[in-house]
């Protein structure tokens, strides 16, 4: 029996409850998603584009959903404190599957910036909502279809034409519950013409002993000459399962940085679908994963150059130790007529034990001649000559290894364009490789709170 059945049954039996706790514009999309899912079979574990990913396995457990929005006794806002310098003062929060309205964060928004609950947006401005919701993400993707079927709330951000938001914004997604829980969320980001913003998204899990599944679809629209940075930091637990599908639509002259960093996790599936739809759009897609014990991360990226003169620069790095697993599948598609395309892809990986596994699969599909494209993939160990050099200067093997691993990730962190965050990340990565345990409740364990 397909793992999807339990969700289809849930919808058939309880769609009235789902609908009652969401907005009409969100509810109206469920029917099509239901149709799609009913006709769909989930991709097999390890099949094409699902390397190191088992959709059935991820979705099979009955985590339980809180579709009736029963109050979960949490007040993380009271205990949560993040002091990365130069961030806007109060973070937005999504607790499990629901935007947690902090009037403080909403009232302090700069002019021309709208942010808040996506459910509220769907209620109050359905025209705007409908213009974007589901327009980038595809229901042919089973994870998107399932998200669309079950989602009730999430986060939205809109930066109006010409507005340049100086201080980076922050969203904190928190998983917190006393028993297993599946949290379905949605994120919609609209950066209008000539607007600029940066968003840091931190994903935390509060209860290390509880099984969680987070299912999230992110849609980002960056209009002409818009600029947007998204830094997504996962600091969850070994029992957290995460499926994140990100869709990006870029128009001409837009500039985007997406940086997905997996610091602590359980089982993670990250998908990036990036569409360069307007000429001279520029994308930098970065990511890293530090995997040890039996953690696992599966990464899929698909960058499409539909028009001439766009540039994409992709770099993913993974470090796998113990019996951890990681995979990177990266496709670059250059359409016919997309001349003067520049597309670079690099995936470099460190494998630190005989039982750790790394899979890397670069795919280039190019339909015209006048392009500059490159891809490189490397899987290896720490350089023995670098190790020896450091040891001749008195560093023991463990310290040398720690410094080299940190160094290995440094270009991912240096791609972060928020100065205070960059320093913190260097520190976090150092602590991570040094073996600090996660214990990330309220960020207390990750060094962001001091």
């Amino acid at each position: 029996m397909s793992a999807l059945k339990q969700y289809l049954d849930l919808y058939s039996e309880h769609h009235d409850i789902l609908d009652a706790h969401s907005a009409e514009a969100i509810n109206s999309r469920r029917c099509e998603a239901f149709q799609k899912l009913s006709e769909m079979t989930l991709p097999k574990a390890g099949s094409e584009n699902y390397e190191n990913c088992d959709p059935e396995g991820l979705l099979a457990p009955d985590y339980g959903l809180n579709i009736a929005k029963l109050d979960i006794d949490v007040n993380p806002a009271a205990s949560f404190h993040c002091d990365v310098p130069r961030l806007s003062s109060a973070p937005f929060m999504v607790i499990n599957d629901t935007f947690s309205c902090s009037s403080e964060s909403l009232s302090r928004l700069p002019e021309g910036v709208e942010a808040g609950s996506i459910r509220q947006l769907a209620d109050e401005n359905p025209d705007l909502f409908n213009q974007y919701y589901g327009n980038a993400a595809s229901l042919d993707n089973p994870f998107v279809a399932l998200d669309t079927l079950l989602v009730q709330d999430g986060f939205y951000l809109r930066v109006r034409k010409g507005v340049k938001v100086e201080k980076p914004l922050q969203l904190v997604n928190i998983l917190q519950n006393g028993m297993p829980l599946m949290a379905v969320r949605r994120m919609l980001i609209i950066i209008e013409e000539n607007a600029e913003a940066k968003l840091l998204v931190c994903d935390h899990t509060q209860n290390p002993d509880i099984d969680f599944l987070s299912l999230e679809t992110i849609e980002i629209f960056v209009k002409e000459n818009g600029e947007f940075d998204l830094y997504n930091l996962e600091e969850s637990t070994a029992k957290t399962h995460r499926i994140s599908s990100l869709y990006l639509d870029q128009e001409k002259y837009s500039r985007v940085v997406i940086d997905g960093m997996t610091l602590y996790n359980g089982v993670t599936r990250n998908e990036y679908f990036c569409n360069l739809n307007g000429e001279e759009a520029d994308l930098r897609l970065l990511g890293m994963g530090i995997e040890d014990e039996s953690r696992s991360v599966s990464t899929y990226s698909h960058i499409s150059h539909h028009v001439p003169r766009c540039k994409s620069d992709e770099l993913f790095k993974f470090s796998v130790d113990d019996s951890a697993r990681a995979s990177f599948t990266g496709r670059i598609y250059v359409a016919e007529g997309a001349i003067k395309t520049e597309a670079y892809q690099s995936n470099r990986n460190l494998v630190g034990s005989d039982t750790a596994r790394m899979e890397s699969k670069p795919e280039l599909e190019i339909y015209n001649d006048d392009v500059k494209c490159s891809h490189g993939s490397a899987i290896g160990q720490l350089d023995p000559m670098e190790m020896f050099y450091m040891r001749t200067r008195g560093l023991d093997e463990a310290t040398a290894r720690l410094l080299l691993k940190q160094a290995f990730m440094s270009d991912i962190i240096d791609g972060v364009r928020i100065e205070g965050l960059r320093d913190r990340l260097h520190n976090l990565v150092e602590r991570r490789f040094a073996g600090a345990s996660s214990a990330c409740a309220s960020c207390a364990g990750c060094g962001m709170k001091e």
């Binding site: 023995p384 020896f388 040891r391 001749t392 008195g394 560093l395 080299l404 160094a407």
Partner: protein
């Protein structure tokens, strides 16, 4: 200080050192010369403890201790320094963090507390002056993007910071123009005391114009085949290595 007796060593199953004998006392400068492939760099790697090389016979004593039994970092703490022929680039590790880790590792070995940030920066400033190393390089990644001359100066800078008892300088002159060579050699001379010693490995007599050796050894086919004073280096410069090769090969 250093007593090398009948040292044999191999890499990947191939024997390179075939019975080295060498004694170095405090205050001495030894030059080791020899044609390509004679085992000069192998000797430096074995003395510094590169795990890729396996000592297969003989012994090395350093102040009475078994040097070969020590891991490379302990050899460093005990006072052995290797200046690399090809200094290794380590992208992502800044010079200043690297040196702080090195200094504090040594202090920890001798049960001393880590050096304060102020003292450390003061020391870095002083030691940089020894080889006129640009301050900008301190914030850069170790050797990354350094010119050939900067890399070699950086080696001597690290030597100045670590204050070794025995410095082994492997072809420190290679790839240097005449000005850089002078700066590097002057750096080495400034660091010389009655208590420390230097082994200079080189192809050419040129470096020995600046760093005056007390002894010159000629390494050929994994053995020291001839030892003399500074005049031996001059003779080599004039006559090349062929006469020695012929002489030794005839004996074989």
């Amino acid at each position: 200080m250093l007593k090398v007796k009948d040292l044999h060593a191999e890499i990947n199953g191939k024997e390179i050192l075939k019975g080295i004998n060498l004694e170095v006392k405090p205050g001495e400068v030894h030059a080791i010369m020899g044609p390509n492939g004679s085992g000069k760099s192998t000797l430096s790697m074995v003395l510094a403890g590169n795990p890729a090389y396996t000592p297969t016979g003989g012994s090395v004593e350093f102040y009475g201790k078994d040097l070969l039994a020590m891991p490379p970092e302990v050899r460093s703490h005990e006072g052995v320094f290797l200046g690399f022929q090809y200094p290794v680039e380590i992208p992502g590790v800044s010079m200043v963090n690297f040196m702080r880790a090195a200094v504090n590792a040594k202090r920890a070995y001798f049960n001393q507390p880590p050096m304060s940030a102020t003292d450390f920066l003061k020391m870095m400033r002083e030691k940089r002056a020894v080889v006129e190393l640009d301050n900008k390089l301190a914030s850069r990644s170790v050797n990354e993007g350094f010119s050939g001359g900067e890399k070699k100066r950086n080696e001597i800078f690290q030597m100045a910071v670590l204050e070794p008892k025995l410095s082994i300088l492997d072809e420190t002159d290679s790839g240097l123009d005449i000005d850089a060579l002078r700066i590097v050699a002057e750096g080495v001379n400034k660091l010389k005391t009655e208590k420390n010693a230097t082994i200079v490995i080189t192809h050419y007599q040129r470096l020995l114009d600046y760093i005056k050796p007390d002894f010159v050894h000629i390494l050929y086919k994994g053995k020291i085949v001839m030892t003399g004073g500074p005049e031996l280096a001059l003779e080599l410069e004039e006559r090349g290595y062929d006469w020695i090769k012929q002489q030794i090969d005839k004996e074989d």
